[in-house]
């Protein structure tokens, strides 16, 4: 609705590239994303100059588009360079009058062809990323995300990216802009591209109707194909056609695709759709292998060979990092010049009130705390749609770390209630313990100490398991990546040996099968009333830490300390620093617990807590820099 209007207003997008908001666009055929698109002459279509020269002799009109513009496929057949129609006529037949020469040429081609099939399809780096995005979108769909994400949103973001990065959907795709004139000219003069008719902006081209492929994808391939000629001349290798060029491509303002970037695309689409998956969830799913990321290339079609430079482009040896993906998301959104995203309203999962509830449940804190978190959210203005909604074209593009922020609010509330100075929380716990002993039938008071003991145990166990699982993680794909064809047998031999060794050692491991892949869940901890060993605190009351005063409730604790007293004003990226040992043990524990849940660094959460406090105690910060000594709040 809004996004669409904005996009229109911007006037950058062709109608076919409009952003769906609420399914305005019919979903593109799945095949467009699913499979690697092979045009007529497909993977074997080689735009080398020689073939074109030979093709000049063929002067008939194309049966489909009536043009006289022929190229030669690897099989020696003619194809129309404007509509890609392949004729049944082949070179050899036509040239039958000059037999010896033709034979030689046929022989040559025969050799070339064999070589080619061994080397696999011709494919482009962006196709590889497209494939990864496709897999990721499929995985997200399987996680329960609506199908529009894949068909409309992500696909359109991707197309827009191709356009913005001048790889497709534009007049002068990057590889024909003469960036390398000396090499290019030579090829261009003979190539199809010089006389390439402009693509009709009309979406209803025969190809789309045929359902085989989208027009746009053909264009992508075609516009890039020229680099194949380059490739054959340079000896630096890569399985993809433009791997070498791609890794060398450096332009100001260009956001180059990387594997982590694919997650930025996924997250942007999730955000656009306002799905119930936070960034930390997304990254955790990646780590738990629910979303293809590490070695995503191994699911490429068999014929898409990767080696050499592709290794650097598609090989990953790290899990995504929260901060990094967060920054990339903003970067990509700005680069794509995306309009304001759909509003995050109170009924959205990403709204702090809902996320706070979720995290309160997750870490086994009383439900009653929720009204306090809502209060803090309201006071800080963090629940406003304008604050929460991502607007990449605003002056300063910034989005909210929804999950981190919600958790920070909980930390602030804990500080308000228990002070967390390694002292008050324990004396309040003593009170609660006494009260609970006396009144066994009443709703129990929340006992911080007991909660700490239970959480500490659960957290330590979880963390231990997590560390062990990480140490056992198998990084290497079944398809080894190698530098060059010479290395191939070595790489495969190594792989085979590793597999054999692993087989041998797996017989030594306990025969009890290890618990299979965990099914994905937004919750990492589960607390139920039935579990007697692990007390569930959801139903516990906060009466012990609140007191009535007239109509309102006050916190018994009247003190507060700020996580950061002075914010860093220099041009560094951080606003504050976190030196663990300067803080109370309870605070450290809580930060560690939450940052483990989100798989972020404790310092990042500390920063967010400080920012929430900055909003909450705005006056204190502006009036005096002295530590705020007292704070009374109404409920």
């Amino acid at each position: 609705m809004r996004g669409f209007a904005a996009a229109q207003a911007h006037g950058i997008l062709s109608p076919g590239l409009a952003f769906p908001a609420g399914g305005l666009l019919p979903p593109l055929p799945e095949a467009a994303l699913a499979t690697r698109v092979t045009g007529p002459g497909g993977g074997n279509c080689r735009g080398a100059a020689m073939d074109l020269e030979e093709a000049e002799e063929f002067k008939e009109r194309c049966t489909q588009c009536e043009a006289v513009s022929w190229g030669l496929t690897d099989e020696g057949k003619y194809y129309c360079t404007s509509c890609h129609n392949v004729t049944e006529r082949s070179k050899e037949v036509i040239n039958s009058d000059i037999i010896p020469n033709a034979q030689i040429k046929a022989l040559n081609r025969g050799l070339k062809r064999k070589n080619n099939s061994e080397k696999g399809w011709d494919w482009y780096v962006c196709e590889g990323f497209q494939h990864i995005l496709y897999q990721q979108a499929e995985a997200l769909k399987n996680l329960g995300v609506g199908p529009e994400l894949k068909n409309d949103v992500l696909h359109n973001f991707w197309k827009r990216y191709l356009q913005k990065s001048k790889q497709a959907y534009c007049k002068n795709p990057v590889y024909t802009t003469g960036r390398k004139p000396t090499v290019l000219e030579d090829n261009l003069s003979h190539s199809d591209w010089a006389s390439e008719p402009e693509l009709p902006s009309d979406v209803n081209s025969p190809f789309l109707e045929s359902g085989m492929e989208s027009q746009s994808d053909v264009h992508t391939r075609k516009s890039l194909r020229i680099s194949k000629a380059l490739q054959s001349e340079t000896s630096v290798c890569s399985g993809s056609l433009d791997g070498v060029e791609y890794s060398q491509r450096k332009e100001k303002g260009l956001v180059k695709m990387t594997v982590p970037q694919t997650l930025a695309f996924c997250y942007l689409s999730l955000l656009w759709q306002r799905e119930a998956i936070t960034l930390s969830d997304l990254l955790r799913f990646v780590e738990e292998d629910h979303i293809p990321y590490i070695n995503a290339f191994q699911h490429f079609p068999e014929q898409m060979k990767l080696y050499g430079r592709d290794r650097g482009i598609f090989g990953t040896e790290s899990w995504p990092n929260y901060d990094d993906i967060y920054k990339k998301t903003i970067e990509v959104a700005t680069f794509l010049d995306l309009p304001r995203f759909p509003d995050i309203t109170e009924d959205c999962y990403l709204h702090p009130n809902i996320l706070c509830m979720k995290y309160l449940m997750e870490v086994n804190l009383p439900d009653e705390m929720h009204s306090l978190t809502c209060h803090v959210v309201k006071m800080t203005g963090m629940g406003e749609a304008d604050f929460l909604t991502f607007d990449p074209i605003a002056k300063v593009a910034k989005t909210v770390k929804y999950d981190v922020q919600a958790v920070a609010v909980i930390v602030v509330v804990l500080k308000l209630l228990f002070l967390l100075d390694d002292n008050l929380e324990w004396s309040l716990s003593n009170l609660a313990e006494k009260h609970n002993e006396k009144n066994k039938k009443d709703k129990p008071w929340f006992n911080f100490r007991k909660w700490y003991q239970i959480m500490k145990k659960a957290f330590d166990e979880k963390k231990q398991n997590w560390e062990e699982a990480r140490a056992k993680y198998l990084w290497k794909s079944e398809k080894p990546l190698y530098y060059s064809y010479v290395d191939k047998p070595v790489a495969y031999k190594k792989r085979e040996m590793v597999v054999n060794l692993q087989k041998q050692f797996s017989t030594l491991v306990d025969s009890t099968p290890t618990a299979g892949k965990k099914s994905p869940s937004s919750f990492q901890f589960n607390w139920t009333e039935e579990d007697t060993e692990r007390t569930c605190f959801h139903g516990h009351s906060l009466q012990g830490v609140l007191k009535e005063k007239g109509q309102s409730l006050l916190t018994k604790n009247s003190l507060y300390w700020l996580s950061t007293q002075k914010f860093c004003r220099c041009y560094c990226t951080h606003v504050t620093t976190y030196e663990e040992s300067n803080y109370s043990l309870s605070y450290q524990f809580i930060l560690n617990l939450f940052s483990f849940l989100l798989r972020i660094k404790a310092s990042l959460l500390h920063e967010e807590v400080s920012l929430v406090e900055k909003e909450l105690f705005k006056k204190k910060y502006s009036v005096t820099k002295k530590k705020s000594k007292s704070k009374k709040r109404r409920r």
């Binding site: 290497k476 792989r495 054999n500």
Partner: protein, 492 residues
């Protein structure tokens, strides 16, 4: 104490050779820098996880390590921990993941991986309850072919494993295979490994030989089988000597080889040859300092009834390397019997030296010798010698040897030892003036400090035994004046 004769030779061999270079198929030999790197990773016997991480962050300028590197190094720590706790199952589980370091994109680590994996894997397979010889054989054969530079080392360790399981013939076959293995350039480190392999083969032949020898000794000379067996014995010795002699010329610690080689030489009456080998082994400066080399030489010379001065000169070197060796008491006896005065002085030094070591504190012979010899020295008017030795020890010997705790336990466990110690304590802790009363040993005996120490011993036994305390001693104790010259022994 001396190094055991059954020193794990493969490790000592490594220490001599240094880390051999690892290289992969199709890769040229690594540079020196890389060798340093690998030895940091795998060469050091000790493991400091914190240091490792520190080094790594420094090396890459504080940049975040790849998760692959992080998880594999965590995996390595888990394996080491599991090995330490003898959790073979867990170790195997982590090992399953650790194999991927063979495909590490970091070439240093990739090159170091086969050796680390071999060491960890063979350790796991050695102890794992589900493992057997076949499993080990398969593993070893695979690892041999991964980093070909490790081929010889792994073959040798494989043979040792088979030996451990009593499979002599298989071990011999493995060694022969390794011996004839040729691949790539010949390097000096490989040369030594081949020598080592041959020497091990020789050692196995020695084993057969000595079995045959035993058979031979059981046979009658007139027995018709005698000559055949004798011939056999001779053949074996010839082969063995060829196999071993090459190795022991290279600097290193080759105890078992030298021992068996010398035994064979001696058996065939080649005493000069044996002496030459032993002298070379002990005195060649290129060889690392090795107490066993001197011990072998000494024992050989003793068997040959060599003159005392020669024996003394051998043991003098051993004394410098291992002053606590049990041969030192023999050395003392030799010195005591010598005519030279400097030898007498050295004799005293040697005794004190032996008792400096915690392992020798309960050696009653040493105490007996010391008691006698100190007395003799004092009576021989060499007070200065004793003073010299005592000077550096008077600060710590009282609490080291003559504490209340020792008094109590010595008396309980070994009364004779307690008496010897008490006697020495009396002499050493007593007033220096009493040392001069050379003609009245009774006075020395009755020295109040000796009595004080005796009394401590007695009291420690409890009331029941108190009657056994000689009344005279008690009397002396009561009347003696404890003047300031005596630093009280710290009593618990």
């Amino acid at each position: 104490m001396s190094r055991a004769a059954s020193l794990p030779v493969i490790y000592s061999a490594q220490s001599v050779i240094g880390m051999s270079d690892f290289s992969e198929e199709l890769k040229g030999p690594v540079t020196d820098d890389e060798q340093v790197e690998t030895s940091v990773l795998s060469g050091a016997g000790m493991h400091f996880p914190w240091l490792q991480t520190y080094i790594e962050t420094v090396a890459i300028g504080g940049k975040r390590k790849k998760d692959f590197a992080q998880t594999t190094s965590a995996c390595l720590s888990f394996i080491q921990e599991a090995l330490l706790k003898h959790q073979w199952q867990q170790a195997a589980e982590y090992m399953h993941s650790y194999f991927q370091t063979l495909e590490d994109s970091d070439s240093y680590k990739r090159q170091a991986a086969p050796e680390i994996i071999w060491k960890l894997g063979s350790e796991i397979l050695f102890y794992h309850p589900k493992s057997n010889v076949e499993t080990f054989n398969t593993f070893a054969d695979r690892m041999k072919n991964i980093g070909i530079m490790n081929y010889l080392k792994i073959s040798l360790q494989h043979a040792l494993y088979l030996l451990h399981h009593g499979m002599l013939e298989d071990a011999k076959r493995k060694l022969s295979e390794a011996e004839t293995w040729r691949h790539g350039e010949k390097t000096s480190s490989r040369e030594i490994l081949i020598n080592l392999i041959q020497a091990y083969k020789g050692l196995l032949q020695y084993y057969t030989w000595s079995k045959k020898k035993r058979e031979l000794s059981k046979l009658d000379k007139d027995d018709y089988a005698y000559s055949a067996v004798a011939q056999d014995v001779f053949n074996h010795s010839w082969k063995t000597s060829v196999n071993i002699s090459a190795l022991i010329k290279i600097p290193g610690v080759w105890d078992p080889f030298v021992k068996s080689y010398v035994e064979m030489l001696e058996f065939y009456g080649d005493r000069d040859g044996a002496q030459e080998v032993l002298t070379n082994y002990a005195y060649d400066e290129k060889f690392p300092s090795n107490p066993n080399a001197h011990i072998y030489l000494y024992n050989f010379l003793k068997r040959q009834k060599a003159p005392r001065s020669k024996l003394i000169s051998v043991l003098k070197i051993l004394y410098q390397i291992v002053p606590s060796h049990k041969l030192m008491l023999e050395f003392h006896t030799l010195l005591r019997k010598s005519e030279k005065e400097e030898h007498h002085k050295l004799g005293l030094e040697v005794l004190f030296g032996v008792l400096d070591f915690a392992g020798c504190t309960k050696n009653i012979t040493a105490w007996k010798y010391l008691a006698k010899y100190v007395k003799k020295t004092l009576m021989g008017n060499h007070l200065v010698w004793v003073q010299e030795e005592w000077k550096s020890r008077k600060n710590w010997w009282p609490s080291f040897h003559f504490s209340y705790f020792w008094a109590k336990s010595d008396w309980k466990e070994d009364t004779a030892l307690a008496c010897e110690k008490a006697f020495v304590a009396g002499l050493l802790l007593g007033k220096e003036s009493s040392w001069r009363s050379k003609n009245r040993p009774q006075t020395i005996m009755a020295d109040s400090f000796f009595l004080a120490w005796m009394a401590i011993c007695m009291y420690s036994l409890g009331t029941g035994d108190r009657l056994e305390i000689p009344l005279a001693c008690l009397e002396m104790l009561r009347t003696s004046k404890l003047d300031g010259g005596w630093a009280p022994v710290p009593l618990e």
